[in-house]
């Protein structure tokens, strides 16, 4: 019993089967075969799905994720790109830290409106003068 039925994968990974089919269509995962019409998956797909979920919550698009863990055309470029993505994450984490601090302060601050609080506005200014360039195109969404 070394392969998993699509329903089993869906259950274990916590995603609907339709999403698995969609990911397969996009080339993010592959099924190891079929039993009749039914897709069968190698258990490794679960790790791959965890990775995809992680990338999604980190704000990467499916295409970006696909590129991050592509079948490795030229490893050098690949590695440079991965390092660059790691840097992107680092930057995003710094932004999140600012936002987290802003929210924590806002939650504790007695000012009637947060915008009237000097500390809050200072945090925002710090964020604004930081990198925070043009807002990210589309996003995703994530969702």
């Amino acid at each position: 019993m070394t392969v998993l039925d699509i329903g089993e994968v869906a259950r274990r990974a916590g995603v609907p089967a339709s999403t698995l089919r969609y990911y397969e269509e996009k080339g993010l995962i592959t099924s190891s075969g079929r039993r009749g019409l039914r897709r069968q998956y190698d258990p490794g797909v679960l790790e791959r799905l965890a990775l995809i979920a992680l990338g999604r919550t980190a704000g990467f698009s499916l295409d970006e994720i696909a590129r991050m863990f592509a079948p490795d055309g030229r490893p050098d470029i690949d590695r440079r790109m991965l390092a660059a993505k790691a840097e992107e994450l680092e930057a995003r984490m710094r932004e999140l830290a600012v936002l987290r601090d802003s929210l924590r302060h806002a939650a504790a601050c007695p000012a009637p409106s947060h915008m009237e609080c000097a500390t809050f506005r200072g945090l925002l200014r710090a964020a604004a003068t930081g990198v925070v360039p043009a807002p990210p195109k589309r996003t995703p969404g994530p969702r």
Copy 2:
């Protein structure tokens, strides 16, 4: 000259005017008045826009952002919600750290395919057994 024309705001904030109109329609920002048909903005809108951009890159939807900085109906609920959002951010940052480490390792690791590397798979497993529940619905899109 204490008010800004929409074009000026767009230029300074680095977003198209159409986005400003859209944000206004959604109640995320307000114009302080009009000169003829043209919207005029109070300079404080720039901080608010920085905040919105920050929230977007942190993965919040416009509706969530609107709620975070609502006109303050009940401050208590509001503050509890802000604290909860801060916790969410904390969790997201932990996930990002895992992904960053995974990417850094993948960039340095000599294994032909990342999935064949035990360290990498270990990081993934850690991520998978962590919180990383069902993938976030819709997103977002943020991109």
